[in-house]
Amino acid sequence: MGKFPVSSTLFHPIIKKMSDLSTPPHEILESSAFKKLVKQRWSVSLVLTFAMLLVYFGFLLVVAFNKELLAKKIGAYATLAIPVGLGIILFAWVLTGIYVFWANSKYDSSVEELKKKIS
């Protein structure tokens, strides 16, 4: 049993007896594979979240305190502000792509493995 009093019917002992082959849910929850999966999921999510926050609020701070930097010309008329601004839009999209790639290739297969153990 876990550290906490369990109330859900999922944990009822009868379910345990119904199938000897499958792993009972609370053992999945306690398993290192599941714990690692949850930890990994949040590490990836939080790193990506902080990357987005850093870039966006970093941009706002530069706009607030150092407009001259962004007004710098990088071509005949184009300013640095234009590729930076459009780059942030692209960056946001690429971040979602990275997450989807990670989740589709790593997360989903671990989920499938753990689910097989239950049923």
């Binding site: 949850v38 706002l60 005949a76 008329y77 942030i88 989920v111 689910k115």
Partner: protein
């Protein structure tokens, strides 16, 4: 050089036919309404159960939902408003649109999959999952309905004004038409019809805006550099760099937080995640939506500058001070009256689709959260729930028409900011804490949502947005234009402090057991 001759001749706007009945736009608009009503008729036959009405039977694919999410999010306000902002203020318009985009990755990283796995029809399903149903359902439906109401008022008033300018139709008639047509979509076609209306609208809007950009760039030899040259020589190089948009960094931070995290708390956006079969499709839909919305903001940026260069700032500001007609004037100048008619009809369709999505999420909150879980203690048959959902749809349809008429001629631009602030302060903190924090309690959630909503409402009244801009005082009591920095921090703080003061052991225990559903999708509906 031919090009420089062309540039010197600018701006030379032709007389606009805006405001007169344009046969192409009226024809296009009737075609859109006819097609979408036919889809509604088709969807009505497939809408029998609650899951079909609220969540399109969870049969929408990740890609389709991505387009529909983009459709829900790309309002006429962002199409016409942001293009207009770029056309009159230059680069600053882009800073504003970036704020609207950056919330999407956060939805994916923090919310989308747990939301899909834990919930059924509304985001309150997730907050209430391991907490006490009644109090949570009451406060979260208040949070939802406030967000929806302010967003809806802004859309309806904008719609009336826009249609009057576009078609020369009376404001009252325009509001009535929008209210009635969208009520038909939701009432009979539920989420299936609403989703397809969003998809059609998103495709029309994206392709229309793309053609507009191509037609405009063709005047500059398809070189963005020539476009920038024209903007710079006619209106000054400062148009191409950040200007007066951010003067106070705290203002920027507060508005940034509201736009970014408010997106992750909009009930009509969150509801869309229940229309896909599983968490994998939910994540794909955010990727697709972010891509389309990002592309759309790139287009509005180019449309804004093209309008500034080709139509000219004085001509744009002459018709509407905020520049809202910039995209339409540009369409007329580059593609003639027929193309103006097409873009105008797309703008009208955009409004219809967005208000339909808002109304559906409001009706779900009333029937699923309030009726079933508060008045019926969670015990209700599907027929009863559907009946209430449909009555709520009609009531909200009437309410939106009434609000549109009551607020006629009022300055409602602040209401979108307010809706985002309430979403970021009342809805988002409670949703996030219920997903990631084991010791979050019922009392903590109630206090968090109430604090976020009340602070947003009180502080906006005391802010320069209302006190200076609308009531005409010289100074405001609260210094920030958008309250999110304070109201959202307050909501998080209140949720944490109240939860820590009085632990709820049953909720903490359930947090462990719900993990199978949160992370593996075991038992998800």
């Amino acid at each position: 050089m031919q090009l420089s001759l062309l540039l010197q001749a600018l701006p030379a706007p032709a007389a606009s036919t805006l405001g007169t009945a344009n046969p192409v736009s009226i024809g296009m608009f009737f075609l859109f309404v006819a097609v979408t009503l036919y889809i509604t008729y088709w969807a009505a036959k497939k809408t029998k159960t609650g899951s079909e009405f609220y969540a399109a039977g969870r049969n929408i694919s990740g890609f389709q939902n991505g387009l529909a999410l983009a459709g829900d999010y790309m309002s006429a306000a962002s199409f016409l408003g942001i293009a207009g902002m770029v056309a009159t203020k230059g680069y600053d318009g882009l800073i504003y649109s970036i704020g609207f985009l950056v919330g999407w990755p956060l939805i994916m990283f923090l919310i989308a999959e747990p939301l899909r796995n834990l919930g059924k029809y509304t985001f309150a399903d997730v907050v209430a999952y391991r907490l006490r149903q009644r109090p949570i359902r009451i406060v979260s439906s208040v949070g939802s309905l406030l967000t929806i109401a302010f967003y809806l008022i802004a859309q309806m008033v904008g719609a009336g004004g826009l249609i009057k300018t576009l078609f020369g139709l009376e404001y009252e008639i325009a509001v009535l038409v929008v209210g009635c047509v969208m009520t038909l979509y939701v009432l009979f076609g539920g989420m299936i019809a609403t989703t397809w209306v969003q998809i059609i609208k998103a495709v029309l809007l994206l392709s229309g805006a793309t053609v507009l950009v191509l037609l405009s760039l063709s005047k500059f030899g398809f070189s963005p550099g020539n476009l920038l040259e024209s903007v710079s020589t006619n209106y000054g190089q400062e148009m191409l760099a950040p200007g007066g948009y951010i003067t106070n960094p705290f203002d920027a931070l507060s508005l940034g937080l509201a736009l970014m995290l408010g997106t992750a708390g909009l009930p009509h956006i969150l509801m869309r995640f229940y229309t896909v079969p599983d968490a994998k499709a939910a994540r794909k839909s955010v990727f697709v939506a972010t891509g389309f919305i990002g592309y759309f903001y790139l287009l509005t940026f180019l449309i804004g500058f093209s309008a500034m260069a080709l139509v000219g700032k004085p001509a744009i500001e002459g018709i509407d001070k905020g520049g809202n007609m910039a995209a339409l004037l540009l369409a007329e100048q580059t593609g003639g009256t027929a193309f103006l008619g097409f873009i105008a009809a797309v703008a009208f369709a955009t409004i219809l689709a967005v208000v339909a999505g808002l109304t559906l999420s409001g009706a779900s909150s009333i029937s699923h959260d309030l009726y079933v879980h508060v008045f019926k203690n969670g015990v209700s048959n599907e027929q009863g729930e559907m009946k209430v959902a449909k009555r709520a749809t009609i009531a909200l349809g009437i309410l939106s028409i009434v609000l549109g008429l009551v607020f006629k001629g009022q300055n409602v631009a602040f209401m979108v900011g307010l809706a985002f602030s309430i979403a970021a302060s009342a809805n988002f903190p409670a949703l996030l804490m219920s997903i990631i924090w084991k010791r979050f309690t019922t009392k903590g959630a109630v206090w968090s949502i109430a604090t976020g909503a009340v602070l947003s409402l009180v502080l906006i009244v005391l802010s320069p947005t209302i006190m200076v801009d609308i009531m005409g005082y010289d100074e405001a009591i609260f210094p920030l234009k958008n309250p999110a920095l304070v109201s959202m921090s307050g909501a998080f703080l209140m949720g944490i402090v109240v939860s820590l003061l009085k632990p709820e052991p049953t909720a903490a225990a359930k947090f462990e057991s719900e993990k199978l559903r949160t992370y593996l999708g075991v038992g998800a509906e």
